[in-house]
């Protein structure tokens, strides 16, 4: 099959669907195997990088979605009002980070890290579809396990969970040094 036609089909499908389309469904629709489909899409992604294009394809956990480039934002808001997304409070963001890095995680484990009851933020994050239930833990009481959703990846511009900002041990060292420096400063001041 002509590769150009396949590209056209993928573009048309992604445009029409609007939402993220899984690789396996795309492959079926264009009658190619998944590996070939992935290669074609990767190639298309490069073409969209051209500066005359205002849209591009993003990858979300093995699914693909068409969206505008971030740099186009200013021009778009000139012509239309864009409703603000949910602004996440510190509490929600903190709870969400814990779920993102520690998933699958139970409510109790979240509360242990935060040191405070967390029903409210957990329910809000469920409501915003940023976290979801993954199932139940095989432990006494069979507590619910939480994890992040595709919407979480999209809202934070992440390709997959692997692209979460890294928590590295060095950072912890930095905190330690900072604290020590501050302590030293204090002694000097006195």
């Amino acid at each position: 099959m002509d590769i150009k036609l396949v590209e056209a089909r993928i573009e048309a499908i992604l445009f029409t669907m609007g939402e993220a389309v899984e690789l396996d469904r795309l492959a079926l629709a264009i009658d190619h195997d998944e590996d070939t489909t992935r290669k074609i899409i990767r190639n298309m992604m490069d073409k969209y990088d051209d500066e005359s294009r205002g849209i591009h394809i993003i990858e979300l956990d093995g699914a693909y979605q068409l969206c505008t480039k971030a740099s186009m934002y200013e021009s778009i808001i000139k012509i239309t009002h864009i409703p603000k997304k949910h602004v996440l409070t510190d509490v929600l963001l903190e709870t969400l980070s814990i779920v993102a890095y520690k998933q699958p995680i139970t409510r109790l484990q979240i509360e242990e890290i935060r040191g405070v009851k967390s029903d409210h933020p957990i329910n809000k994050l469920l409501e915003y579809n940023l976290i979801c239930e993954l199932g139940r833990m095989d432990a006494p009481g069979r507590p619910i396990l939480f994890g992040t959703t595709e919407e979480f990846l999209r809202s934070f511009g992440l390709q997959s969970l692997d692209s979460l900002p890294a928590i590295n041990p060095e950072k912890l060292e930095d905190f330690k040094l900072e604290a020590e420096e501050e302590a030293e400063q204090l002694t000097l001041d006195i």
């Binding site: 445009f15 669907m17 969206c67 971030a70 996440l88 009481g141 900002p165 330690k176 604290a179």
Partner: protein, 258 residues
């Protein structure tokens, strides 16, 4: 009241503790536990018993701090065991972990900020195609699920629920926590009145919705009418009540002799 507002700014005991450590420019690995415990308890004292649930969480941390403090004050036992851990260690670990998540959540905030500049398009599937809906085959969906399997799942959930219920105390009936502070609401109505002059009863209820809060707000309104501090109008039965605030200051419930 200002103190309470300040305290509510803390998300929890760890947050407050981090704030104190920050404020005192303390090395997190070498917390002067005596000092911090005292400061922490000072904060707790200012909290009053506004919200029992929040309060209890702060108190648990206070107990932990006092426990560590007392262990630190005891003369160090000379042992060969080098692993005689610093009683502060567990707390330090917790604080560091918490601090780490506060740090990454800020990073995530930036990411979200950037991602919010990307826009998507709703599906535009032609109507005749959208109307075609793949029938969901319930039989296939259910697969080899049987009623007894479903029952098993149900029983395990219900069992778990009954495990959580204390058989004796559950018979005591529901104990409602007194969350509404009448004098606070009385002041709040007046503050709202000074700011808005003319407003509606429903405006007052926008932020509070429990039955108890509505009743208390209504009582407050009645009291303000009695004192001649507001004027109310209602054209028809069940219409929203229009309130005109006449006074220019605020009086407390004690002053009003409520």
């Amino acid at each position: 009241m200002s103190i309470r507002v300040k305290l509510e700014a803390f998300e929890g005991p760890l947050d407050l503790l981090l704030h104190l450590i920050d404020k005192n420019k303390i090395n997190i690995y070498d917390i002067p536990i005596v000092e911090i415990t005292d400061q922490y308890l000072d904060y707790i004292k200012q909290m009053e018993e506004k919200n029992l649930e929040i309060m209890s969480e702060f108190l648990v941390m206070a107990a932990t701090l006092i426990n560590i403090k007392s262990r630190m004050l005891l003369p160090a036992v000379e042992t060969e065991d080098e692993q005689d851990a610093d009683p502060r260690q567990e707390l330090v670990d917790k604080l560091l972990e918490y601090k780490m998540f506060k740090y990454v959540s800020e990073k995530l905030r930036d990411k979200q900020e950037n991602a919010s500049r990307i826009l998507f398009k709703p599906p535009t599937i032609p109507k005749e195609i959208a109307d075609y809906k793949e029938e969901i085959d319930v039989n296939e969906l259910i697969g080899d699920l049987t009623l007894s399997k479903l029952h098993e799942i149900f029983s395990s959930i219900v069992k778990k629920q009954s495990d959580k219920i204390d058989p004796i105390r559950s018979k005591f009936g529901k104990i409602e926590q007194e969350e509404i502070n009448l004098s606070d609401i009385f002041i709040q109505i007046q503050e709202y009145g000074i700011k808005n002059k003319i407003f509606y009863f429903r405006n007052l209820l926008e932020q509070q919705s429990t039955k108890m809060e509505i009743i208390v707000t209504f009582l407050g309104i009645l009291e303000l009418i009695r004192l001649g501090r507001i004027r109310i109008e209602q054209e028809h039965m069940f219409d929203d009540i229009r309130i005109t605030y006449l006074a220019s200051d605020i009086i407390t419930m004690e002053e009003a002799g409520f």
